[in-house]
Homo-oligomer: 385 residues x 2
Amino acid sequence: MQGVAVVGIGMTPISAKSEKTLIELFVEAATEAMEDAGADRIESMYVGNMLSGFLQNQKHLGALMATALGKEGLPAYRVEGACASGGVAANAAVKAVLSGLEKTVLVGAVEKMSGYTTSEVTAGLMMAEDRTRVATTGATFVGLNAMIAREYMCKCKLPHEQLAEFPVLCHDHALSNPRAQFRKKITVQDVVNSPLVADPLRLYDCSAIGDGAAALVLAPLDRAREFTDLPIVIAASAVATDTLSLHQRGDLTTFAASRKAAAQAYELAKIGPEDVDLLEVHDAFSILGVMALEDLGFTVKGSGIQLVKDGACYRGGRLPTNTFGGLKARGHPVGATGIYQLAELALQLSNMAGKCQVPEAHVGLSQSIGGIGSTVTVHILERVD
Amino acid sequence: MQGVAVVGIGMTPISAKSEKTLIELFVEAATEAMEDAGADRIESMYVGNMLSGFLQNQKHLGALMATALGKEGLPAYRVEGACASGGVAANAAVKAVLSGLEKTVLVGAVEKMSGYTTSEVTAGLMMAEDRTRVATTGATFVGLNAMIAREYMCKCKLPHEQLAEFPVLCHDHALSNPRAQFRKKITVQDVVNSPLVADPLRLYDCSAIGDGAAALVLAPLDRAREFTDLPIVIAASAVATDTLSLHQRGDLTTFAASRKAAAQAYELAKIGPEDVDLLEVHDAFSILGVMALEDLGFTVKGSGIQLVKDGACYRGGRLPTNTFGGLKARGHPVGATGIYQLAELALQLSNMAGKCQVPEAHVGLSQSIGGIGSTVTVHILERVD
């Protein structure tokens, strides 16, 4: 799969409480992506979003955002896969370009989560779980992830202090990202001393509520140089699913959908994990960052955090991970996050990552998760030299 | 565009209050479509739905429905374009097949609207309109469509009795559709004597709340004969948008998005309206059925209803329209309707429409609308002889 390129990138800063509306956030990111591509004439739009129906009482974001961008008339619709909505919107946009029906395509994703109570946001997020058998029990995603963390810590004999290395990594990387929600260095002690949210997960194990939007312009690879001197190829776009709920699964310490999406992505890109030199993973909770390193094939079960402790995941290491701060520190405006990850990979691969730049990267992989590992997207981006 | 075929069809009956859950409805239609195709081994799923987040507190239908079908693991996500959600899901599925990344693809759409108050359903539907400037005014879709009907009736000097011919046509056709929500013959007098809902629209001008699901299996045309002796080609899949609200438009008596989507579909299929001999239009309100006949190019503005009165739109006529009863009488489970239309066209073109069968049809066109003409999909299906 070598037919699609990223030719434009736009991202808003992520904020705990943006003054901008859902529409204004989307328009800011989309306009920046179109200006970056020098391509005002896009042919279609795909919009990733999870919660606007519930929080803003606003569905129908395809037509709404097309009009807001001054592009009324354009084919446009919304794609949803819970917190992986940005990732699945990217998948739809990639297929649109590969279909030959559309050439210059905008994929943008947005979430506005501030201005609501924690209960309201939590209720919205729980719609990603099975309503009839889990959401109604009072379970929350931090609770479900805590169950996974507890199981993982027992099985792999890992103390919480070691999980805490993941948010420390992300906060370190976010220090140099001007768009990050949290630009504050933290230590393992800060994590283990932060308030308990759902045992064993503490406040600093968890990503926060945030507002933001990100967008990409995609084009067929053979036309990409009309837009940019350094197109970034989308070498793979893969989606896999799993049961919505943990009670339907065997092993809690691995996500089958991550493994499946990764296997399919490696096959499409004709590479293996050993060829990846840049990574964006879905660390909504510290445990998920650690599991991702294992499920995506970079190390064996139980050893994920070792890659962080060894320095491999830091910017100078052999597998720089979440180089703009990841979900924990860059921020996690849920339906938009999958596009932030792709935008950040593309900036790194084009040597446009500013103070976040890693020395030398040719192949980047991103993983986005919806629900409790129930929808996983994996994209592989490559620099064309 | 000649690369994709319909090779399997499934539809549940549409009911004012189904005893089945959202999941059971989807599984029934999807299973029927897979059995029809003899294809248990589908490679991906696209799910059209508008309201499950709001009504059932359940998002994330891609992974949920894949698991419910026993297909956990499969790539699956939801596509939304308000009441055109089924239509845009079909568009995403068509692009998936054309992309070459997936071959045997299931597209299913479902809506469960019963069990809630009319206020709740109305509030859900209004999320298709602009929240900040229209939905908060207390406007409803029947009210907005009534404004269009009033303007049309003034401009085209059409009395309400003539609009009423459209629901009469649909009820006549639904008499022989065992899946139809309303199998009851009505007359123009019944329509004009039915209770006023929003002047000039009366109860029988309006489609009703209903539960239902429909599904298709799609495959590349060159592999379609592995599944069926009579594949139906999807010769065009087009989407266009417009502003979300009427106050942003000039002429209320035509939908620019209908005209744009139709023009694009005709171009893709390399045909014109004169080549179409079967039609499914989005008659959520009688006025929309009439406008569709004009906007899709079958007659000039103001003359739409003449095609119904002349008998052209009846099953024996030259342009049989809504031959299973349309939104008014087959039913309108909003996010699912776009797939019902495609399934019905495919049944007609394969001579499998039972008592609804029209004599001879080779080319069928369907139009699905989201919001007040804000998202329109047009598909063209052709029989391969």
